[in-house]
Each structure stands twice: as structure tokens, then as C-alpha cells.
């Protein structure tokens, strides 16, 4: 990846984060889990997947299933930057007059499937990948999973089936931000050694820094030659871009006041550190 491309992607991701931060007020959103996924979604939609929300009937297009649905602000932020979603619509967050809420809705062009119930979409992605195989086509299917989501047995059941059916067009991506809801994963349900587990399930397994576009490019460009499904474990930081909430167990669901949003946007631009006093919220 050349340096211009990297800077372009970093700027794109920064603008996505600017879109996301204001959603963490007036009702709030799952800010931490959204910020950890921004760079992954930025890379996939700008540089890997062939998807255009204006041409979803294109038979050769790819699919992205956001199984970890509570990071939908990141998805919508990417859609805005791609020109798929009018930026004003983000102001409709949590309004009954739109479909923009804490989890994805298929009424938003580009959203492949509604999500929110963890462990649901790996199976749906398998179905789409199987159908593509029936037609002997090459469309790719990416399914984004949270690391906490891997507690759900249905993910592992899906891994077994994806391997059994040798779905070479299916790629799982884990946003490994180290937290599940209100706890560190390793304190509650340890996942490590996660690579070994995924390998043991027969998946082509990779582990990269989920905020490093060059690493993503290097690995994603290798996947095409794989026989059978792949999984990329992307190490990320929950709340990435906002040091005052980064990697904090208590900043999963965030609902800040308007001054805090202003301060956090300053923090995002490295102008000054935000002073966050809003209470932490245990959402589950």
C-alpha cells in the first residue's frame, strides 16, 4: 500500500469517527464497539468489497454481514462517507421517523441484513455463500463478528459447517477489541488462544492489527487463493481514537452530554483531552 492510499484511508476513517461520536448523546449508542470497528469497515468498503448501495442488484457484487450489529454507527458512518446515506439522516438517530437505531436495519440501503442478536449472521452468511457456490459464481461474503459474540455457540457451529462445505468465498472477521459488554473477555469467558481455536475448526486463520491498513491489505489480498473459509482476527482497541474512553470496560454504551461530545471531538482531533464526567452505563 502506498503512503497516499494509507493517508487517504486514515482520513476517511477519521471522518467516519467524526460522524459516530455525536451519536453517543441524546439516547447514546455503543460507541466503544463502533470505534473499534471503523478501520476494518473503512478498509473493506473502500478497498476490498465490490458493493455499491445504488447497484445492489449487480449479480457480481460482494456481501458484508455485520453480525456484531451494535457497531452499526461505524457502518452508517462509512455509508455517509461513501455517499450512500445522507449525513442529515444521522440526526434521526433513535427517531421513530427513520430506521436508524442501535442495530442495523435493512431499510438503510447497503445494510445486508438486520442484526443485533449475536451469533445469528454467520449462518445467514453461510447460506448466501452456499447459494453463490450453487451458481458457480465468485462473489465474496464477509461476516463481521465481535469477540464477545464468540461466546455464542452458534458461531462455532457455523465455523464447523463453513469448513465442512469448504466455502472459499466466505471470510469471517473478528473485531478483537478485548471486551464483551461490561467485562474484559479474558476475565469472563477467555477466548485465547483464539488463533489455535479457529485453526482447530479448520479455518484459514490470520491475526493482524485491525487499525493498520497496510496489514489488512497484505492479508486480504492473499485470501483469494484459499480453499475453504478464512477468519481474520483483527486486534483492535475499544473506543479507538478517543483516549479517554479507550479500552475501558465501563465505556461500552455511551450517552454523553453535548459539551462532552464537543470535547470528545476535540480529543479525536488531538486538540485537547476530554473531561468526561457522565456516569458510565451498564447496558446489560
Amino acid at each position: 500500500m502506498n503512503i497516499e492510499k494509507r493517508i487517504e484511508l486514515e482520513n476517511f476513517a477519521l471522518r467516519v469517527r467524526e460522524r459516530i461520536v455525536p451519536l453517543a448523546s441524546e439516547g447514546g449508542c455503543f460507541l466503544g464497539a463502533s470505534l473499534s470497528a471503523v478501520d476494518i469497515l473503512t478498509y473493506l468498503y473502500t478497498s476490498f468489497l465490490k458493493i455499491d448501495a445504488q447497484h445492489l442488484d449487480d449479480e457480481n457484487r460482494d456481501y458484508l454481514f455485520l453480525s456484531k450489529g451494535h457497531d452499526v454507527p461505524a457502518l452508517y458512518g462509512v455509508f455517509v462517507e461513501l455517499g450512500w446515506l445522507a449525513p442529515e439522516r444521522l440526526k434521526n438517530h433513535l427517531s421513530v421517523h427513520d430506521h436508524i437505531y442501535w442495530h442495523p436495519n435493512r431499510h438503510i440501503p447497503g445494510v445486508e441484513f438486520h442484526a443485533g442478536s449475536l451469533g445469528q449472521l454467520p449462518a445467514v452468511a453461510i447460506g448466501v455463500a452456499l447459494e453463490i457456490c450453487l451458481r458457480k459464481e465468485n462473489n465474496r461474503v464477509v461476516c463481521i463478528l465481535g469477540d464477545g459474540e464468540l461466546n455464542e455457540g452458534s458461531c462455532w457451529e457455523a465455523f464447523l459447517v463453513a469448513h465442512a462445505k469448504q466455502l472459499s468465498n466466505l471470510i469471517f472477521v473478528v473485531d478483537r477489541n478485548q471486551f464483551q459488554a461490561n467485562m474484559a473477555t479474558e476475565e469472563l469467558i477467555p477466548l485465547e488462544p483464539l488463533q489455535d481455536k479457529c485453526k482447530a475448526f479448520g479455518l484459514h486463520t490470520y491475526r493482524i492489527n485491525g487499525h493498520d491498513f497496510e496489514q489488512m491489505e497484505e492479508i486480504f489480498s492473499q485470501l483469494e487463493s484459499n480453499q475453504g473459509p478464512s477468519i481474520l482476527i483483527c486486534d483492535t482497541v475499544r473506543g479507538k481514537g478517543l483516549p479517554s474512553i479507550e479500552a475501558r470496560a465501563d465505556r461500552w454504551f455511551c450517552n454523553f452530554n453535548s459539551q462532552e461530545i464537543v470535547d470528545l471531538l476535540d480529543e479525536l482531533h488531538q486538540i485537547k483531552q476530554a473531561d468526561i464526567t457522565s456516569q458510565t452505563i451498564v447496558a446489560r
Partner: protein, 301 residues
Amino acid sequence: MTYEQLLQEKAVNDKRYVVMTAENRALVRNLPGILQDRFIDTGITEQTMMGAAAGLALRGRKPIVHALAAFLTMRAFEFTRTSIGIPNLPVKMSSFIPGFLSDGNGPTHQAIEDVAIMRGIPGMEVFAPADEDDLVKMLPAIWETENPSYVRINTTANQYKHSIYELGKAEIVAEGKDVTILTYGFMFENSYQAMLSLQEAGYDVGLVNVRSLKPFDVDMLKALIGKTQLLVTIEDHFLTGGLFSIVAENLVVNHWSIPVKAMALDARWFRPARLQEVVEFEGFDVPNLVTSISKFIQENQ
């Protein structure tokens, strides 16, 4: 024609159809070789199968999915409700050994709440054919729709020759002034025999093969009001949420008044055994049905 022959004919002639199973091949033994890659066995994974069926349907296919009724409905319930029900995808569920048909398996395998839970999913259609003849008459219309559906598969061989099926309509087997029996699925045959016995005893007895539990044939129920004195519902299902509940809901909503006797499993699982013994032990054999219904008629004279 058998279930498998019908399915084969449909799937061979229409490439939209995909046959899936969670390693329950009893109904579809010969199809893997015939359908090749359109026969998809996901192994013992009801959840993944239902999710994958949603994915296949998203891309335009019509999956006909097979598993044991208890696991198809309950293990995979949220996948069905969330991945198939919310987007209303045309996934067609074929549930094997529902109700008493799980005979000696025990309560783990007893799907006797399946009607209740499946009809709770908006858009989901629910059907229960009386026997194999009824099944093959009903399925083409059921598979034709673009809604998800749940079918209590019943390949019992009976003598009765059913009428042509019209989607969502019940089959009126007989009209009767004294009492009308409403039933569905496996309990049809014993209900039919009970009707014949009661008629021989001098009662004027009607019988309805409900066929479609959702949509429910309200016109059929309306036509009974004022024409028959009593209703009896007979089902191999829990008392709550099945046919008795459906009838009760429709009577209340429409302000229709008629005495109804429910014959169902009242908050209990049935005793596992050979099928005939189950039916007798639980009081759903012909003599028991006749006794219960005669008593009900006499109480209301």
C-alpha cells in the same frame, strides 16, 4: 404419491427449490443423488440450517428444510423468528414426527407446543395435514407462497380420500347438528372413526379437518355457529396455543357463543411408548373419544 416423490418432482422442475436437512434424512433418502448440490445437509445444526436457509432465500432460493419437529421449532426458534420471520423469507419447514408421532422418543422429542410457538411468528403460515394423502394435496399450494411456512409432516396411510386443498381453507368432512369435531394432523383418523361411531349411535356429528392453523379458516367457524350445538377440538398438542386457543380467540373476537370441549394435552408431556399405546394411554383412542364426546353432548342437552 409420497412426500419424497412430490418434493423430488417439485425440486427437479424448479431450480429455485433447495432441499436442506439437519441430518434428518428419513423423508428425503433418495434426493441427495438426484438433486446433487441442491441437497444440503448441514449436519446436526438446526440453528445453522435455518440461518443458512435465510441466506439462500435472500439470494432467491426456496429452501425446504427438514429436521425433527422439536429441534426444528425449538432449538432453532430464534433463528427462524429473527432471520426468517423478520424479513419474511420463503423458507418452507418440514417437521418430522410432530405431536404423538414421536411415540417412544420421550419428552425431549415431543413437539406439542410447535403450533403455539410457530404461529407466534408474524407472517409464518402453519399447516397440519391429516395423513399422506392430505399432505401431498396440501403441499404444492403451501410451497407456492412467498411466505415462510411450518408443516407438521404426517405420512400416515389412511383410507380417507381428501378433497382438493385450497390455501388457508379447512376441509369439511361432515356437517352435524349435535356436535362438530375440529381436528388436525395425526388425530384426524381417530376423530373420523369416532365420528362414524357416534353417528351409528344416533348422533348428528360433523367433522372438520382444519388443515391450516394459520391462516385459520374463520369462515368455516362462522358457518358452524347456529348450525351445530357444540364444538370439540381434538389435537396432539398442549392445550395452550393450539387449535383450542385459536378457536377460542376467534369466538371471543367475533362475539360468537358456543360450548367448546378441548381434548388436548393439558400442561403435561405424554407417556412415551409404541404409538398405539400412547394414544390409548392418553385417552385419544376411538373408544375414549366416543365416550368423552357422548358425555359432552349429554351434559349439554
